[in-house]
Symmetry: C2
Subunit: 440 residues, 2 copies
C-alpha cells in the first residue's frame, strides 16, 4: 500500500483532460498539493490519512474565473441600471477614491474569495489597486490566483502620482514571484487610459519577470472610436504595432473586433477572456466567441467585478454565455455545453499560462477540484453532465472544494475562514459606504 494524504472515493470524475475522459465511479489520490493517481478502486492501492466519500457526486476541476476585480464586491449593487459614464463617473470612481484603502481591498477580496470558494471557483485572475493586499487575501483564503497590479495613466487610490504605478507593480511582482499559489502579473487598464509608452513599459516589465500581462480590449464601440481617433487604427492593430501582443497576453472583453483584428489575435496567439454578463449588463455588446473558437483562439471565461455582474458565480456565467450566443447567432447548436465547461476549466488555465498545472484532473497536476451534489430536486434527473453543469447547476450546488491539495470547504462549510466575523465587518463597512455615498 502506498501513502496518500487524501483519497476521494467513488465519485463520477469528469477529468476535462484532452479526451474529456469520464471515470464513473472513480477515485482520486492526492499527496501534498498534487494529484498522485486517478482511476477505479484506488483504495486497494493507497492508504490515505483522509478519506472523502463522493458516491453519487460529480468530481471535476475547480472553476477558473479568468477575469475579475475581486475587491469590488464592496460595491455589489451600489449602482445598477445606469448608463456607463454615469455609472463610472458618478458612482464607481468616487466610491473607489473614497473607500479603496489597503484594508478595504483586503476585506473586499476576502469576501470575493469566500463567495468563490462557496461557488466552486478555485483560481481567480484579479486586476485592481493595492494588489499586495489582494494577493494576501487570496493567499489567506487558500485559493490559487493570478494577481495583477493595475496600471492606469490617471491618479489611482494606490498611486496618486500615476508615474509611481509601474514601480509599485515591480515591487509587487518581486514580493510574490516565488509564491506557489499566487502568481503576480501586470494589468494595463486599457489602450484608452494608458499611453503607448506606459503600455510598452508595462509589457517589458512583464517580460523581464516572465509574468502574464493583461488588459481590457475592445470592450465598447466608444473605445474603438477613441483609439481610431487618437492613433488612426483600431485597438488590436494599435497594440500589435506597439509590439505588446503575444501568447502571454490576456485580452479581456474583445467585443468589437473586425476580421483583421481576429486574424491578428490568432496569428499572435493572444489569449481572450469572455465576460458575457458584464458586457450584457453594461450594454457593451456581444463578443463573437464562436468565431474566435473556430479560429483556434484560446478563450477563458470571467465574471468581471461585482459592480457590473453582480456575482462571481461561474456556473451562472457559463449558462448565460451558452444562451446568449445561441440567440445572438440564431443557432441553438452554437457554443455547446461542453465547450463552456472547457472554457471555465482547462482553457481558462491556458489563458493564465497555467495549462500545465491546473484546469484538468490528471496525474501530476495540482489538486484543485470541486465536488458537486447531484441529489437535489432541481438537479434531477441527470442525462448529460456537461449540460447539467452549464444549464442547471449554480454555485450553491458545490459541496466540497480542494485547492492545492487542501480541503477548503466540506458539505458547504468553509473550514479555515471565520465566515461570520467577515460578514459582520462587511456589513459595518457597507453601512459607512452607503451613508457617505447618499450624502454626496
Amino acid at each position: 500500500m502506498q501513502k496518500a494524504d487524501l483519497l476521494i472515493c467513488g465519485g463520477i470524475i469528469l477529468t476535462l483532460d484532452e479526451q474529456d475522459s469520464v471515470i464513473d465511479p472513480g477515485d482520486i489520490a492526492i499527496r501534498g498539493d498534487t494529484i498522485l493517481d486517478i482511476g477505479p478502486n484506488l483504495s486497494d492501492k493507497y492508504q490515505a490519512s483522509t478519506l472523502l466519500e463522493a458516491k453519487g457526486h460529480l468530481v471535476m476541476p475547480g472553476l477558473i474565473n479568468a477575469h475579475t476585480h475581486a475587491a469590488m464586491t464592496l460595491f455589489r449593487g451600489l449602482a445598477d441600471d445606469l448608463a456607463l459614464m454615469d455609472w463610472l463617473k458618478n458612482y464607481i470612481f468616487p466610491a473607489e477614491a473614497r473607500f479603496m484603502s489597503p484594508e478595504h481591498v483586503y476585506l473586499g477580496t476576502m469576501l470575493a474569495c469566500l463567495e468563490m470558494i462557496k461557488s466552486g471557483t478555485t483560481t481567480l485572475s484579479d486586476a485592481y489597486f493595492f494588489e499586495p493586499e489582494a494577493a494576501r487575501a487570496a493567499n489567506d483564503a487558500g485559493l490559487r490566483a493570478v494577481v495583477a497590479q493595475g496600471i492606469i495613466d490617471f491618479p489611482s487610490p494606490d498611486a496618486p502620482d500615476p508615474k509611481e504605478s509601474l514601480r509599485l507593480a515591480e515591487e509587487f511582482i518581486c514580493q510574490w514571484k516565488w509564491s506557489d499559489r499566487i502568481s503576480p502579473a501586470i494589468f494595463c487598464h486599457s489602450a484608452y487610459t494608458c499611453s503607448p509608452q506606459t503600455i510598452q513599459k508595462a509589457k517589458r516589465m512583464a517580460e523581464r519577470h516572465a509574468v502574464p500581462f493583461g488588459l481590457h480590449l475592445a470592450e465598447t464601440q466608444q473605445e474603438v472610436q477613441e483609439i481610431v481617433h487618437r492613433y488612426g487604427k483600431r485597438p488590436v492593430q494599435h497594440l500589435a504595432d506597439l509590439g505588446v501582443l503575444d501568447e502571454t497576453v490576456m485580452a479581456i472583453h474583445c467585443v468589437w473586433l473586425d476580421q483583421r483584428e481576429i486574424d491578428l489575435l490568432q496569428e499572435l496567439q493572444v489569449k481572450v477572456v469572455h465576460v458575457p454578463e458584464s458586457n450584457m449588463k453594461l450594454a457593451s455588446g456581444i463578443a463573437s466567441i464562436p468565431r474566435l473558437l473556430e479560429r483556434g483562439i484560446t478563450v477563458g471565461l470571467g465574471t468581471d467585478g461585482c459592480a457590473s455582474n453582480n456575482d462571481l458565480d461561474m456556473f451562472r456565467e457559463m449558462d448565460t454565455a451558452a444562451k446568449l450566443h445561441k440567440v445572438f447567432s440564431q443557432d441553438p447548436t452554437a457554443l455547446k455545453a461542453r465547450q463552456l465547461v472547457r472554457m471555465a476549466t482547462r482553457e481558462g488555465a491556458a489563458v493564465l499560462g497555467q495549462g500545465h498545472r491546473i484546469g484538468s484532473l490528471e496525474v501530476g497536476k495540482k489538486a484543485d477540484l470541486i465536488i458537486l451534489d447531484l441529489q437535489k430536486p432541481h438537479l434531477l434527473p441527470v442525462y448529460n453532465f456537461y449540460s447539467h453543469l452549464v444549464y442547471t447547476f449554480s454555485g450553491a450546488d458545490v459541496d466540497s472544494v480542494i485547492v492545492n491539495g487542501a480541503l477548503l470547504m466540506r458539505n458547504r462549510k468553509v473550514l479555515h475562514l471565520e465566515e461570520e466575523k467577515l460578514i459582520e465587518r462587511i456589513v459595518d463597512l457597507s453601512r459607512q459606504i452607503q451613508g457617505q455615498m447618499r450624502g454626496r
Copy 2:
C-alpha cells in the same frame, strides 16, 4: 389582543404594492389563508399561534412563474444544444409519446413543485397533457397554480384522437373549477398546430367557464412565415380576426411582432408572458419587452419547461432578462431591476387574472410570500433590494415559503413533502428513460 395564525416579525418587507412600499422593519399577521395586517410592531396587537422571526431577512410576495410545462422536469437536460426541429422531432416528441403517462405527469409535476418551492415560486401557470394529474400534484404540493389542459390538433399522449382533447379540457375544468388554489384553464398549443376552429372552440369554452385562455404566440420566425403562408396574415392579426384575443388571454413568447401586432395586443389588452431563457436557448429570438412595457401592456415572466431552460429558478430568469434586454437594446438603463421584480410578482398575477388576490403583500390578499436570507457572502453588502433580487439572489437563497397561509418551507426544509422518496422515484424513472432513449 386579536388572534392570528401566523406572525412574521421584524423582516424587511417589500410589499410590491402600487407604491412599492417598503416597511423596514415590519411584521405581517396572517389568519387562515389571508394577510390580516402589515406594519411595524404588530406583536403588540396580535397573538399568533406561530411566530416566525425574520430579522435581517427580506420578506416579499412569492414569485409567479407565468409559463411552464412542469412535468417536463423529467426531460431536464435530455437533449440540449440542438436545432429546434431536431430537438422536437427526435427527442422531445418521442420521449413524450413513450413516457408521458398520468403517473409520470404527476411525478414530474411534483418534482417541479419541489424545485419551485425551494426557489421561491408560490404560483405557477402550467400547460401540458394529463392536466388532472398536474393539478393534483400542484395541489398536493401546496402551491397555487393555473393549470391548463393542452389542446393540439395532433394525437397527444392523453388524446390519441385530437377530437377528444376539448372534451377532456371541459371535464378537467369542471373537476377543478371550485378549488381555491388550483385554477383550471385552457391552452391551445399555437396557431400553427391548432386550426382556427379548434382555437375558437377552445376560447368559447374558456369563456363559458370564465377561465383563462393561453397559447404560444410568435415564438419563431418560421411560425410567422407558416401563418402568413396559410392565412395571408401575421399571427396576432389572424387570432384577432378569429375573435379570440381579449384581456383574459395569456400570449406566451411574443418574440416576432410587428408594429401593427403590438398595437393590436395593446388595444385588445392581451397579457404577454416573457420567457427569455428558453427563447435564448432555442435561439428563437428576443422579444421587445421594453417596447411592450412602454405601451402599457401587462407582461409576466416565465421559465418555460425544463427541456428548454433547464431550471425553474425565477431569480435567474429575472437576471437573464435584465441583462439580455440591456445588451440587445444597447441601453444599460433598459428593463430596470424593479421592473423585473414587478413582472415576477404583481404583473405576473395580473397576467393570470389574479391581480386582486396575489402578487403583492397587502391586507386582504392571499398570504403567499417568501423569506430570504441576506447574511451570505455572495449577498453582501446590500445597497438596493430590487437590484439584489435580480442580479445576485438565486433560488437557493430562499429560506422560507408560505402559500395560502401555510408554511411550506422553513430554513430550506420542505415540511410537508417526502423529498427523499420523490428523489428516489425520479432517479429510477430517469434511468428507464435514458436506457430506452439510448436504445432508439
